[in-house]
Symmetry: C2
Subunit: 195 residues, 2 copies
DNA sequence: TCCTTTTCCAACGCTATCGTTGGAAATGAG
DNA sequence: CTCATTTCCAACGATAGCGTTGGAAAAGGA
C-alpha cells in the first residue's frame, strides 16, 4: 500500500478540508488531520509544510472545485435566480468551502494568499452580470460588483450564522431546506429584476 | 482606584469583546484580555468563570445592545430599505457583534446559550415583517422568517467575507462605503417590494 | 536478491495557555 | 486606626500543540 505518493497527499488534503472546515485554523491540530487521513503526522509536514500552508492549499483546491462545479457565463442567458439556486445547492452539498472562507475572513483578513488567482474567478462572475446588464436582463440600479456579491450573500448566509437561522426559522427538515432554496431563488430574481 | 468592582468588570467585558471579536474563542487568551483591560488575569476567572462563560457573557451583552440601538416595530410604518441601512450602519460602527456571531456559528454551532432569550429578539423582527405583509407594504411571495433573515444577510455579508468583498469590489474608501450602503438599501427594498 | 523510496512511529524540545493558588499591597468604610 | 474587601502579582502544575528528528519497517523496481 505504500508507494502511492499522490494517494497519500490526496488523503491528507481531504482530511485537512474536513478538519479545517469544522474547527478552523486555530482549532485544528495537525495530529488530528494525520489521524483522520490514516497517515503519520510527519507526512503532513513533509508534503505541505506548516499548518498555515496546508490551509491555503486546501482552500485553493476548494475554490477551483466550485469554479468548475458552479460555472457561470452570462446572465443574459441564464436567470440570476437559477444561478443563486445552484450556488445554494453547492453549499448545501459541500459546506466546506463556505466555512473555510469564513474562517479565513475572521482569522486571516488582510493577508489572503493567491489573491490574483482568486480575483480571476470573481472577474468571470462580474463579467456575467455586466453582460446581463448590457442585454437588459439585469437591472442597472445596483452596481454589477455589488449585485453579484449580494446574490452570493443570499445563498451563503444560512451557513454563516446557522444558529441564527435555526432560531429564526423552522427546524431544518427537508421541507425547510426546500423553502430556503425557493426563498433564495426568488430573492435573487428580485435583486436582478428589471422594471 | 480599587474598590470599583463594577468598573473592573466593565473593563474586562470591553476588553473581552475586542479580543474575542478579533481572534475568536480559540485564538483569544485570557492573559491578553486581562492585559488589555489593565487588570490581573486572576480577576477574569474570579468574576466570569472560564473563557467560554466569558464569551457567552459578552455576546449576550452585545445582542442586548443591538436590540436597543436598531429597534424595529413594524414594516407597515418603516421602509425595509431604511431598516437595512440602519443595520448596515450599526455593523459598520460596531463590527464586533457580527464577528462574535460568526465565530459562534463556526465554532459553537449546535450549543448556543441563552437560546430562549435570543429567540425573543428575533420574534420582534418577525412580527414587524408579518405586520408589513398584513398591511400590504411587504411582499408575501417570500416567507416572513426568510425575508428578514435575507435582509440581515445583505447587511452582514460584507464583514463576513471581507476578503471576498475586497477582491470583488473597489478599495474600501468612504465612497465605496457609501456605495455599499446604497446597494444594501436598494437590495432590501427589492426583496420586500409588492407588485 | 539488493537498493531506493516511502511510510510509520515514538519521542524529542519548545512554547503557549489554561485555570489555580497563596500571599502581599492598596483601598476605603466604620 | 482597624479591618474587611478588592486588587495585584508571581508562580504553580498540567496539558496540549507545534514542528523536528532518527531510525526501523514496508514496498516495489532493478
Amino acid at each position: 500500500m505504500a508507494w502511492d505518493t499522490e494517494g497519500t497527499k490526496r488523503k491528507i488534503r481531504e482530511a485537512a478540508v474536513r478538519e479545517f472546515a469544522a474547527h478552523g485554523p486555530d482549532g485544528t491540530t495537525v495530529e488530528r488531520i494525520a489521524r483522520s487521513a490514516g497517515v503519520n503526522k510527519e507526512r503532513v509536514y513533509n508534503y505541505f509544510g506548516d499548518k498555515r500552508s496546508l490551509f491555503s492549499h486546501v482552500l485553493r483546491d476548494e475554490l477551483a472545485k466550485v469554479a468548475q462545479a458552479v460555472p457561470v457565463e452570462s446572465f443574459a442567458k441564464e436567470d440570476v435566480g437559477d444561478y443563486a439556486g445552484r450556488v445554494y445547492d453547492y453549499h448545501r452539498e459541500r459546506p466546506e468551502l463556505a466555512r473555510l472562507l469564513r474562517w479565513e475572513g475572521l482569522a486571516f483578513d488582510g493577508e489572503v494568499p493567491d489573491e490574483e488567482l482568486r480575483r480571476e474567478y470573481y472577474r468571470y462572475k462580474l463579467a456575467a452580470v455586466v453582460d446581463g446588464q448590457e442585454h437588459g436582463t439585469v437591472t442597472t440600479s445596483i452596481d454589477a460588483d455589488h449585485l453579484i456579491f449580494l446574490v452570493l450573500s443570499l445563498a451563503g448566509w444560512w451557513t454563516a450564522v446557522p444558529q441564527v437561522a435555526r432560531m429564526l426559522t423552522q427546524p431544518l427538515t427537508e421541507e425547510e431546506e426546500a423553502r430556503r432554496r425557493a426563498s433564495v431563488v426568488e430573492a435573487a430574481r428580485r435583486l436582478a429584476r428589471t422594471p
